[in-house]
Structure formats: C-alpha cells, structure tokens
C-alpha cells in the first residue's frame, strides 16, 4: 500500500489526501488505459477511407464543425481522460509531421492496444509486449521500404503527384471535384517548392475562402489575395504594373515611445505646430510619390487628411493589412517591408503586374487581388463553397493534400493505398515472427493481426464483408506475390491498387506505424494511475 513507516514506526505520507484520490494499479490500470484508448479509436474508425463518414462537432460556443479529418475531430472533442489525451496528441503529431493519415494512425494504435489486451490476459508482461511491438514495427517499416516505388515527376509531369493527392482527397467531402483540387494543390506546391533542396515552405501558400459560389469555382492565384479594400472609395480599382510600397508605419504624426509633452504657450507656437503638422502629412505622401510607388500597402491606419492627400495625389492605398499578409505580399512582390518613411527607396518597392479589387455577391464584400508578381513564389488558393462549414472542411482537405504533395517532393517514394501496404506488412511480420524465440513472438504476431485492422475498417466502412474481403485479398497477395492488392472500396472491380491509382506516401505510412507503436508502448508501460479527486 501507499503507506510507509519510518524507522520509528511512524507512518509518513507519500500521497497527500489519499482517500480523495482514485487509484488504479497493475492489470486494472492497464486495462482501463487500453479501454480508453480503444474508445477513442472507435470514434474515428468509421471516418476511415473513401466511404468513411463525417463527424459533427458542436463547440462550447455552439459553432458547428463537420469534418472527416482525424486530427480536427480529436482536437475539438473536449477530451477529459488522460490516455485519450495521449491519443489526441498522437494524431496531432502525425498532423504536424506528415499532415495526412491522422485518422489511420489512431485506428492503428487502437487496434494495437486491443491486441495487447489479449496478450495481457494470457499473463505476458507488458514490457515484453512493448518490446515485441518494437521489433515488429521495425520489420514493418523495412518491408514498407521494400514494397515502395520511386516515381518520377517534374515541372511538367505532375500526373503522379495529382493522383496521390486525389487519394487523400477522396475520403473527404470534396471528393466531388477532387481532380481539380488535387491539381490546384500540386500546382501550388510546385510553385513554391525548392526542388533543389527538396523542400517546400507551406507558409508561402495562403489558403483563403469565401462563402458563396460553388466548389468548382475554387481557384489558384499566382499572387496574393487580401481581404481588404482601398482606403478611399474613389481610388482606382485596378492598377497595372504596380510599384508597391509596403509600410509598417502609420500615416499619422509620429508617436515617440518616450513620454514627452509639447507645451504650447504662445499663439506663435500654436501656429508653427499647425504648419508642421500639415507639412508632416505632405512630406509622408510626397516621400512615397518620390520613390515612384503607385500603391501603398500599410499595416496601420491613415488619418483622414492623409487619406485624402493620397487620393488627391493619385496614390491608391490599402490600410490595416495584417502582419502575415504583409509578409506574403513582400515575398511575392519582391519588395521590402519598410518601417520608416525615411528609409523608403525605389529599390525597396515590390512589383506586381496587376492589382485589382473584386467584389462578391450582393453584400459589400471586396477583396484585393495582387497578381503577376515579380516573384511568383507565394500563391493563394481561394476556396468558394455553399456554406461556412464546407469552406472550413475544404481548407482542411486542401491542407492535407498540400502536405502530401510536399512529402512527395521531399521523398518521392510511394506505397499503394487501399490497405494494401498494411496487408503486405502484416504478411511480412507474421512470417518474421516465427524466427523469434521467446515471448516476443506472440507480440509480433499480435502486431501482424493489429495491422489488419485498417483494411478491415476500410472494408467495413465500404459496406463489404470485412473478414471475407480481407482474407480473400490476403490470400491473393500471397498467391500472386503481389503486394499491391488492397480493398476495393469504390467497387471498381479490381483489387490491384496500381490499376486503381491509389497511392500514399511512404514516409506517411512509415510515420503512422512508428508513431502508433510508440504511443502504445508508452500506454503499456503505465501501471499506476493516480487521478485527483473530482471536485
């Protein structure tokens, strides 16, 4: 018990206020943890695959989110249980690292836990199970490498990239126009990709949306879209060959940081101050004009007078542009962000071929398009859709597709989807198991069984007989020695995923296996759960 005695026989307290805390130990603790982990996995299980269903989440403030993305579901679920929180973390790290496969990783972890429970009941020590899993995951990852294909793509040959992105998008609500969205994503990634270094900075891709129109109207803009309009209603709505001054200082009289007072005690001083003030505004505008700017983009507001002076001197301006957008504009137009008027020079101006204001719908919504930029390294994906939730879900789906495209540029290996990779791994792990002496063998076999859970869930969600389908595909893989057989979710008629063009990235799959194994190992090692009393 958690009560110990010192050498004088006095009890000393290890845990404060023991009675108020619930405590689970040993097998009970493990079982409780496993059951918590599994119930999280159960929630996501039905979202897997092209026929997976969505979840509707109602936030504490009553906002509704409808999504199919595992990471988003878990994040918004208001989870209380500690182990369940671990699963949420798991899906989030997959999201950060890879961006796709967030549902799959949780389902896999869930099924690993399920198998572990059976082994625990047979009296196998949790650490041995964890070690077995570790061994098995290594085998699986190696096997994935073996069955992976390299595939080639270039600036003009993007078909294979598009196909992979389509696989990702096909499980989302946007699968109606997955081809188009996949193409947009790939083009966007290629536009900002650094093919030499094999790196993509996704921050350069801005994903923005506006309700209205239909999904098919979604477009890729080689430039930046800003949700702002011109500061003065009568400024020109379209500027050709704009020279853009990007400012982070307001068009207002200076406000020094140090405290100061300007005392006015005579009429003369009053007069001079007034003159100076006017001079100040005049100088600011003149300065912009002098360096040859034809458009001013400012992070801060303008004074009415400055606004009119700008308008008067025929210098269109945009105010209150956010910091992130300002940076993107600077990257896209090749300009420099200028913090002070004195530092404004002609070289620091950004260049854009066309800047135009576009209005939407019947309300007064206007957006500013900055296109044909000097440096087209920043792009915007502009999403349209029937309602707010649709836009949000599309944003998430596009994010997934972008991540997939990025991963392919980093590493152009792919494995085949539709559960084929998992089945192949499962076969390989099963075969390897027999070579291990000792208790680990059981754990490795259990790992092989757990890998079957993903194709099983795919088949189940597609309305097929799970066990029947899985065993048929498995035997086919062994018979034909073809690791590309998977579950035919869309009822196309062939189980060969090469023909169906269902691809997934190798690193995505490997990461799934590794992350799921890691979390399961961690959960298995817990043998004591102490939770504070409920209030």
């Amino acid at each position: 018990m958690a009560l110990a005695f010192d050498e004088y026989g006095r009890p000393f307290i290890i845990i404060k206020e023991q009675e108020q805390k619930t405590r689970l130990r040993g097998l009970d603790a493990q079982k409780a943890n496993i059951s918590a982990g599994r119930s999280v996995a159960r929630i996501l299980r039905t979202s897997l695959g092209p026929k997976g269903m969505d979840k509707m989440l109602s936030s504490p403030d009553g906002d509704v989110t409808i999504t199919n993305d595992g990471a988003t579901i878990l994040e918004q679920m208001d989870v209380d249980n500690q182990i369940a929180k671990l699963m949420v973390e798991l899906s989030r790290s997959q999201d950060y690292e890879i961006g796709d496969g967030t549902t799959g990783v949780v389902v896999m972890a869930g099924s690993l836990l399920e198998q572990a429970e059976k082994l625990l009941e047979r009296g196998i020590h949790p650490i041995r199970i964890a070690e077995g899993y570790e061994l098995a995951s290594r085998i699986a990852v190696e096997h994935l490498e073996r069955i992976a294909h390299k595939f080639e793509f270039g600036e003009n040959n993007i078909e294979s990239l598009v196909q992979t992105c389509m696989t990702t998008l096909s499980s989302k609500i946007v699968n109606r126009c997955k081809r188009k969205l996949a193409e947009i994503s790939v083009k966007a990634v290629l536009a900002v990709a650094d093919l030499e270094r094999k790196d993509v900075n996704l921050d350069l891709i801005k994903v923005d949306g506006k309700v209205g129109g239909k999904l098919e109207d979604t477009e890729l803009i080689y430039g930046i879209v800003v949700d702002k309009d011109m500061s003065h209603p009568q400024m020109p709505k379209q500027i050709q060959d704009a020279n853009i001054a990007i400012l982070t200082c307001p068009f207002e009289p200076p406000k020094p940081k140090t405290k100061h007072k300007v005392d006015i005690d005579t009429v003369e001083k009053f007069e001079t101050l007034r003159k100076q003030e006017q001079q100040y505004f005049d100088d600011m505008v003149q300065k912009c004009k002098d360096v040859g700017a034809t458009l001013v983009i400012c992070q801060w507001g303008f004074d009415d007078e400055a606004n009119h002076l700008l308008m008067h001197r025929n210098l269109p301006a945009v105010r209150w542009v956010g910091g992130v957008e300002l940076e993107l504009i600077a990257i896209a137009t090749g300009g420099r962000i200028v913090p002070r008027f004195q530092e404004l020079t002609a070289e620091k101006l950004g260049k854009a071929g066309l800047v135009r204001e576009k209005s939407f719908g019947t309300t007064k919504d206007r957006m500013l398009y900055i296109e044909h930029c000097a440096n087209s390294r920043a792009v915007t994906i502009f999403i349209r859709g029937g309602n707010k939730m649709m836009i949000e879900e599309t944003k998430r789906s596009i994010h997934d597709a972008l991540c997939v495209a990025r991963n392919l540029i980093r590493n152009n290996s792919i494995v085949y989807g539709g559960g084929s990779a998992e089945i192949a791994c499962s076969i390989a792990v099963e075969a390897a198991a027999d070579r291990y002496p000792g208790v680990e063998q059981y754990a490795i076999r259990a790992f092989a069984d757990a890998l079957d859970a993903i194709p099983m869930a795919l088949a189940e969600n597609s309305g097929l007989q799970p066990i029947e389908t899985l065993s048929a595909v498995k035997s086919q893989q062994i018979k034909e020695n073809n690791p590309h057989c998977g579950i035919d979710c869309n009822d196309v008629g062939t189980t060969d995923m090469r023909e169906q063009n269902v691809f997934e990235t190798l690193i995505g799959k490997q990461q799934q296996v590794l992350l799921a194994t890691q979390v399961v190992k961690m959960i298995l090692k817990i043998d004591d759960v102490i939770s504070a009393a409920e209030f």
């Binding site: 969505d54 109602s58 989870v79 029937g386």
Partner: protein
Amino acid sequence: MAIERILKDDASEEKGERARMASFVGAMAIADLVKTTLGPKGMDKILQSTGRGQSVTVTNDGATILKSLHIDNPAAKVLVDISKVQDDEVGDGTTSVVVLAGELLREAEKLVASKIHPMTIIAGFRMAAECAREALLKRVVDNKTNEEKFKMDLMKIAKTTLSSKILSQDKEHFAKLAVDAVLRLKGSTNLESIQIIKKPGGSLKDSFLDEGFILDKKIGIGQPKRIENANILVANTAMDTDKVKIYGARVRVDSMAKVADIEAAEKQKMREKVDKILAHGINCFVNRQLIYNFPEELFANAGVLAIEHADFDGIERLALVTGGEIASTFDNPESVKLGHCKLIEEIMIGEDKLIKFSGVEMGQACTVVLRGASHHVLDEAERSLHDALCVLSQTVNDSRVLFGGGWPEMVMAKAVDELARTTPGKRSHAIEAFSKALVAIPTTIADNAGLDSAELVARLRAEHNKEESNAGINVISGSIGDMSELGISEAFKVKQAVLLSATEAAEMILRVDEIITCAPRRREDRM
C-alpha cells in the same frame, strides 16, 4: 469493467442511427418552419426578439426568419447557414433552398431506413443534381442581345419575386421601380448606390423612385433653401475644434490673456479653414462629421449651404452621384474635383424635411422612397425590395432566365426521373428520391395556396411529358397555366444556387454518423 469516460462531464456523444436521426429531425423541423412562407400565397411569420423592448418583425423572408432563431440542433444550423449564404450571394430563394434541403433529407431518411448506405445516397444525389443542372441549362432563355426583351424579362423576374412578398398588391409598381433602379447601375452589382429611405405615412403605392439623390438631413438655419447649378464639395473633415494631431501636445499658459489669445488663434484657424473651403467656389458643402455652430455661421454668411453629419454611406453615394471626390484637405482648390448638380432643394415627405439633389451628373445612384402604414410594413417592404434588387442585379450580369411557378422543378424532376430509369444499382433509388424532393416544391406552393396539390402536380407532370412544355402552377386561378403567357420568370442563377447549395447541405448532413457536443461554455456571472 466499467467503460472509461473519455469526454468531459457535460459533453455528449450520439452515434450511428441516433445521430442521423437527430440531424434529420432537426433539419426537417427547420424546413417545415419556413415551408409555409413559400410561394405567392405563403404566409408571414411574426418574430419577437427576446431583447429589451421585445421588438416585433413581421416577415416572409426565409433568411430573416432563420437568422433570428436560436437553434441548438447542429444540423439545423447547417440549413440556417446555407440560407444566409444564399441571401448574401443571390439575395432571393432563401426559403426554397431550405425547403429543398429539408425535402432531400426527408427522402434520404426513408432510404436510410430501408438500409441503403448514406454514401450510396450521396452518390445518387450528386448524379441527380448534375443532371438537373444540365436539364435547366438546356431550357434557359437568354435575351441579353435584345434590350427590349431583356427589360421585359427583368420586369417578369421582379414581379415573380415580389409576388410572394408583402408588395404583391403593387407588384407592377414596384417591379418597374426595381428594374429602373437596377438598370441605372449599368451592370455593377453594387447595391449600395441604391438608397432606400423609409418614411411612415401614406400607402405603399405612394412609394417612388427618385432619379436624384435624397439626403435625410435638414438644411441649417439661415442658409439658402434652394440652389441652382450647385457646386458641391463633399468632405470628410473635422469641423469642430480642429485638434492638434501631434502626440503629446498640450496647451500650457500662465495667464488668462494668453488663453484668450490661443482661443483667438483657434478661431482664426477655423476661419482660415472655412475660407479655404470657400475658395473652391462652392455653394454647397457636405461633411461627414459634425459642423459646429461657428463654422456653420461662417458658411451661412457666405451664402453656402452646409450639411453636417451625413453618414458614411451617404457621403460615398453623394460622391458617386455628383462626381466629386471626398476631400479632407483643402490646400489646392484648383485640383479638387467638385460635384455638380442642377438643383438642390428642400422637400417634404410626410412630416419630414429632406434635401434633394436633382439633375446630378452621374446617373448611377438613385433613391427609392418607401411609404407605408407602419414601421413593420416598411421594414418588410424594404426586405422585399432588397430581394428583388439583388436578383435583378445578378440577372443583369448573368442574363439567363427560366420560367417560374414550379416549372423549373418539374423540368428537373423529369430529367432526373429519366436518369433514375437508366442508372443501374442502388443509386437509382437515391436519384428517384431526388426527383421526389424536387416535386415537393410545386407541391408546397400549391398547398400554401390552399389548392389540391396532388391533383395539380399530377396534371403538371402529365403536361411536362409533352415536349417543350411551359406549364406551371397558376396560383391565382388554381390551375395549370402556361408560364410564358403568364409572364412568370425566375433567374437561372438563383435556381442554380438553390439546387447546388441544397444538395451540398444535404450531403454534408448525410455524411455525419456521430455528433459530439462539447460542454457549453459557462458564462461567468457578471457582478
């Protein structure tokens, strides 16, 4: 072993059938709520706000009704959202889109009950929606090239839209008014330049469109009440005490005499400003901000009409119509563009005095003055007119036109039915259900008019089996009529938006198999 609780205490989770049921029920409840407002004989709703004053709104507009509801059901929120988007995007059809989405879900529920997978239903719905759109595209009429006919089309659309609203009695009058107003915009969809002024009193028939611009302001005392060939300066500048904008400036004096000096200097500054403004050679000055008594007096002395505190929209519109620019500095009068108009005068509408600018240079903007018995009538009239204006302005850009009165739904239903017959597999059930949902719209229109809907819709269907039929429901006579003769038209853009967003929303709700509701955030009690 007890199942571990994963979620927080107050959070709830509904799964599978229960979740689907909850969303079906919620969505259908919303659809049924607005259903009775559909069509020319649709009824209105009274909305009473819970806020202070318990203000009452009487309306027929789907978006307005749904916007004011407090809804807890997440699926219902999806429907409210699509109606809002429809309002923003095309302005009309806000009720139809909700009713169609509701009907689609009603049909889907039956299919789910007979064990068809939601994904199959969605696949069927998608095919059906695409096919329906094609069918509509085949039958659209585009009169863009023929101006005379195009104007007729606009009139018809306006009348059709207005006929389901409070303005239906005077739809002829208002349709003409709306068409005139929209044509003045010359293709721009910026409805901001059409100003609607509501003045209680008189009857709806007394509403009129004014070519010029009416500003809801009074002319200052002692200033001219009537100016011909006015030069107008539109400004946004402070005309109270002009503050020193340099940060940290303050006045510090050590004697009363100096205070007086400073004050004099201030006055002098204002006087100079007024002089500068007058140097523009204007006889009318409109400012967005307040004009204090002192400058006002100066303006009056110079015989210049000064109007203060015109709101921002008013200023923008005025600048738009008179062709002037909104000025804030006045140092170089020669290059500031002034606005011009033939005549400024004070007019009386009801009891109120307003300022009218007529004979303006640019004819884009105009003003609609609505008259009516009460504020409720006026508010509703404004909403109705707004709908009509939105639809018309969208039609000017996309001039494709369809017939109304349930005609498009029947055309779509026919095409979708044919598709269902040729589609193999379970999807055909879903496609068939789609056509049933489409037919529900004419059915509802007939029901709302107190007609025998079953009989009428059956006859309509028979009529549509003939090639190129123009048959629709004639609600007035309670029979089937030729829509081209009756002149009932609708904009293609509206119908397409209704079709697509309703399908999208239905699809979204169908895909859900689990609802997780987080614990509502507790409001901290304010002291």
